[in-house]
Amino acid sequence: MHMVRAAETAPTAYPWIVHADGLQVKAGTHLAVDGLDLALGTGVHALLGPNGAGKTTLMRALATVVRPAGGTLTVLGAPVHGRAELRRVRRALGYLPQHFGFYPRFTVREFVEYVAWLKEMPRSEVPAAVQRAIDRVGLTAKADTRMKTLSGGMLRRAGIAQAIVNDPELLLLDEPTVGLDPEQRLDFRELLRDLGVDSCVLVSTHLVEDVVAACTDVVLLNEGRLVHRGATASLIAEGGSSDAGDSPAERGYSALLRRHRAEAGR
């Protein structure tokens, strides 16, 4: 059973879990996120966009791994360029990077426990939290298996387990469904809906069906700028029968991008 901590029921002093204003973030020397305004609260938010749109760079900035080059970014009420509150913010973060690294000799349980320790969770809560995280991603039977023996899909789920072990207030999942088979993706959508009830989940993905099924709203990026922001239904509404795609959501995605590119080209 999940114990409710005092911190979870305490009222938050900030209106948004993520708040970006004119945010600029560099990837190397290139400005991959350029003047982004964004506010996210609880719920499951899909981060869509073509390759090179700046999704991963935005994720990294939100994960406090890279510092913004300009604008302001406030995560959980604290500016990410200030060192003072960074530690508190990081305790409440969950992050699955696009390229998920792991120690191959660790078992799943050991690895998740290690991340729990890195996130400075109270020692007494760790074993139960680790078990719960592993159970939630459906790796219970593989909990004591070495990471190096896991398949791609299992590794991705282990990556999700480490990201959610501390019941993060802000959960960042960069392409979490890569390598998952259709059945696992269904379970994952279920998990996403569950997680989005009391935390802010930002999921970067190319799979538009996942978005429709599990996300409350959509953030569409292109070339570092916000193209569209709205409920999942608004994405579907944008698409017409002439737009490319096999589903209403895909057609909406194509339509929005095509229109944005046309405007930018003008």
């Binding site: 406090t64 990081r90 990077p97 690294g101 996130k119």
Partner: protein, 440 residues
């Protein structure tokens, strides 16, 4: 932390590193057990000498462990976690440090039973010698991790190991004139023993502890910082430690092969005739006493015989080498050597050696004495045929000794004894002994 430390102990290279150190140490120790069988201090010092292999292995293990971080690609995730870098590295460094220290100490656990029955004297300095050794392997492993982090290559381990051997053995050789400096910075150097009474200077141990601890601190801080300037700043404790160590260590020859006066003190039988051995050999007293007393009884047939037998504790190396002179009157001196099991070496040879030394008045005559005559006289007193002299291939010389001995046997006992007494008398005067045993 303790749970994570346990995970790291299980999953990192730590246990393997400890096992490899243990194996290397045990193999080297058992290649030549006579080097350390004489006592606890000998064991502690000889294991320190084998740092020549164990410290480079620890360095390589550290670099190997470091490869895990660079290969895993975990840094992205790590950078998003709140735990400060210095805390983050603690479990893996702790596991590695514990394992290599454990490996170093386990060598003692494997070798100690070998001499537990014969080693008595356990000076506090022996613990200090072991501590410096353990500190050295831990510092080496941590340094290996740090270097591996800055240079994440598969070559880092072997290169570091070679550099470690080069440092430990090459540095003292390069500064030959400054032995104290070589001993200070190469914790294996100067640990070869010339006598069983040797110890390691307390000031040397203190100085080594200072710079090794400073190295450990510097390497640890190095893990927590980024950038060239911060790394330079991290080396500050090391610079300070080295400076203090150089100030503390004695800058003269006394630092090498220091003698422990307590180890050299004589421990004697309570009953007469008195037989004494050095404290470090005290467990051998029951083995030595009957032999020494037998030798005294044989010598009693001569005029002015020695009444007591002492171990010769003069040393010919290191500090306080006495001038060679005649043995004290009234005492038969004997050199005690220990075999590879810690017992008296060549026990059947002790009686003739004691008798021979009394006859020859060792070390007094500048030109030397006729050894064939002395040998024949010795074995006549002992009452056995002179065996071939060890390391002498000259059959004529061995035959000559036996001829002289047979000549004595043919004589009436009183005459033979008079001749042997005359040989001893002649040796005292450094006279020419040739012909003193044969009829002319």
């Amino acid at each position: 932390m303790s749970r994570i430390l346990r995970i790291e102990l299980r999953r990192s290279a730590a246990l393997w590193a400890g096992l490899i150190l243990l194996l290397a140490g045990v193999v080297m120790c058992y290649v030549g057990p006579q080097r350390w069988s004489s006592g606890w201090m000998a064991l502690a010092m000889i294991e320190r000498e084998y740092l020549m292999l164990m410290a480079p292995l620890a360095l390589a293990a550290g670099a190997w462990q470091s490869r895990r971080e660079s290969r895993a690609g975990l840094s992205e995730l790590l950078e998003s976690t709140p735990r400060p870098r210095l805390q983050r590295v603690l479990p893996v460094l702790g596991a590695l440090g514990l394992a290599v220290i454990g490996g170093y100490l386990a060598v003692l656990a494997v070798t100690a039973p070998w001499i537990a029955g014969t080693a008595r004297y356990l000076p506090a300095a022996a613990f200090a010698v072991v501590t410096v050794g353990a500190l050295t392997v831990a510092a080496a492993a941590w340094l290996g991790v740090a270097v591996g982090r800055l240079w994440p290559s598969i070559a880092a381990g072997p290169v570091l190991a070679c550099a470690g051997i080069g440092w430990l053995m090459g540095f003292p050789a390069a500064i030959r004139g400054q032995q104290w400096l070589g001993m200070l910075f190469s914790p294996m150097y100067g640990m070869s023993r010339f006598s069983d009474y040797e110890t390691v200077s307390g000031r040397l141990t203190a100085a080594q502890t200072v710079w090794l601890v400073a190295l450990v601190v510097a390497v640890y801080i190095l893990h927590g910082v980024e950038g060239r300037r911060a790394r330079l700043a991290a080396s500050l404790p090391l610079v300070l430690g080295v400076a203090v160590a150089i100030t503390v260590v004695p800058h003269d020859r006394s630092v090498a092969h220091a003698i422990d006066p307590v180890a050299r003190e004589l421990v004697c039988t309570t009953d007469a005739p008195k037989v004494c051995v050095a404290r470090v050999h005290s467990a051998l007293l029951p083995e030595v006493t009957p032999q020494a007393r037998q030798a005294l009884a044989l010598l009693a047939r001569l005029p002015q015989p020695p009444a007591e037998a002492y171990e010769d504790t003069t040393t010919t190396w290191g500090s306080g080498v006495p001038e060679l002179g005649p043995d004290p009157a009234g005492v038969a001196l004997m050199t005690i050597t220990v075999d590879d099991r810690g017992h008296l070496a060549f026990p059947n040879d002790l009686v003739p050696r004691i008798v021979g030394r009394v006859l020859a008045n060792v070390g007094r005559c500048p030109g030397g004495l006729d050894s064939s005559v002395l040998r024949a006289a010795t074995y006549w007193l002992v009452g056995t045929e002179p065996p071939d002299e060890p390391r002498v291939d000259d059959d004529r010389r061995n035959d000559h000794v036996r001829q002289l001995w047979q000549g004595l046997l043919k004589l009436p006992e009183a005459r033979a004894l008079a001749r042997v007494a005359a040989v001893r008398e002649g040796a005292l005067r450094c006279a020419d002994l040739e012909g003193m045993l044969s009829d002319t």
